[in-house]
């Protein structure tokens, strides 16, 4: 006869759980990374505030690289397919994720999006994150490289006010350089801010509007 221990009424039980709630996204991100690696696909996570030029940057890179790579883009936004429509015109396959009220993309959403792409038919993937410099820092997606794009129109304090996202990035793009004289933002100071927070990050100055600096971004991404 098996012996069973049952709790008595009113007895107090101490249960060890060791359940890490933040680990789930990291585990999924790793799975995404392995899946992409298996298919020989390089993935780039593009982050930046609203209006800094994420879509324009991806569009410009797609336009310059579409003869060398088979490119897909996952575009994330709360609503609309505006970004997806713009990028599709540059020549890439695009999947739009509408996050609804969620302020960042997570590894689970990327996992679902990857199911909609024939991974045998692409070798380069861009993920355009939601326009937000705070939340995406905490949620790795499984990409090989991360870009953060800031714009001169945001003023001189974007890096010092949001250090965490810059700590975890490979390339920092400073966009709208065509407006540098009009805006009077000290670009050297901005570069210095990035170097202090993350000496390893590559800083590239661009104007997505006129195409200046895009080849340097491509070089910095090792594409």
């Amino acid at each position: 006869m098996s012996r069973v221990i049952r709790a008595e009424e009113g007895e107090i039980f101490n249960i060890e759980l060791a359940e890490d709630l933040l680990k789930a996204n990291e585990v999924l991100a790793m799975k995404n990374k392995n899946l992409l690696s298996k298919h020989g696909i390089k993935a780039i996570d593009v982050m930046g505030s609203v209006g800094t030029g994420k879509t324009s940057l991806i569009g410009q890179i797609v336009y310059k690289l579409k003869e060398n790579y088979r490119i897909a883009v996952i575009a994330g936004d709360l609503t609309t397919t505006i970004d997806a429509d713009i990028i599709a015109k540059y020549g890439a396959e695009v999947i739009q994720i509408n996050t609804g009220k969620e302020c960042h993309l997570d590894a689970n959403l990327i996992k679902k999006a990857l199911k909609m792409i024939d991974l045998n038919k692409i070798d380069l993937l861009f993920i355009e994150n939601v326009g937000n410099l705070i939340c995406p820092a905490e949620f790795p997606l499984g990409s090989d490289k991360r870009i953060v794009i800031i714009s001169l129109t945001e003023g001189p304090y974007m890096v010092v006010k949001h250090p965490f996202i810059f700590m975890k990035t490979d390339v920092v793009v400073i966009n709208k350089m065509d407006l540098v004289d009009v805006l009077g933002v000290d670009v050297n100071k901005l570069e210095g801010d990035v170097n202090r927070v993350n000496p390893k990050a590559n800083v590239v100055k661009v104007s997505c509007r006129n195409g200046m600096g895009i080849m340097n971004v491509i070089k910095a991404l090792e594409l």
Partner: protein, 123 residues
């Protein structure tokens, strides 16, 4: 950020465990929250109070232990606390991901967790 949604997950997890064991109430929930997560502890505590109302967790104590950041350098093998830098302009001390010994980039070993370590149930 996202304290409310993480705390929701915590409450759901504990409820699931408590119901699985047929518990009548929950006395304590012990959390470990790493210092490298961007979670605001006060918001977690506040969200917890709100979320446990009308559940068997009502009246339970939420006890939070912090865990410091620990990193490993692939280049020189250093394992230990994270390096903090004081920004000369904003005077904010913030963590960096560079090695204390050789300034190479490090990987994070500890400090990014939000773990339910243990719970105390009344059967």
């Amino acid at each position: 950020m996202h304290e409310f949604s993480i705390t929701s997950q915590i409450v759901r997890s504990v409820l699931k465990e408590a119901e699985k064991r047929g518990a009548k109430g929950v006395l304590e929930v012990h959390l470990i929250i790493g210092k490298l997560t961007l979670l605001g502890i006060e918001q977690v505590k506040f969200s917890y109070k709100v979320l446990i109302e009308d559940t068997i967790l009502e009246g339970s104590k939420l006890l939070i232990k912090r865990r410091s950041g620990k990193v490993k350098c692939e280049r020189c093998g250093y394992e230990g606390p994270i390096k903090f830098k004081v920004d000369p302009i904003s005077h904010i001390s913030f963590p960096t991901l560079t090695c204390l010994k050789c300034n190479s980039t490090v990987t994070i070993l500890e400090g990014r967790e939000c773990t339910i370590k243990s719970i105390k149930l009344v059967m």
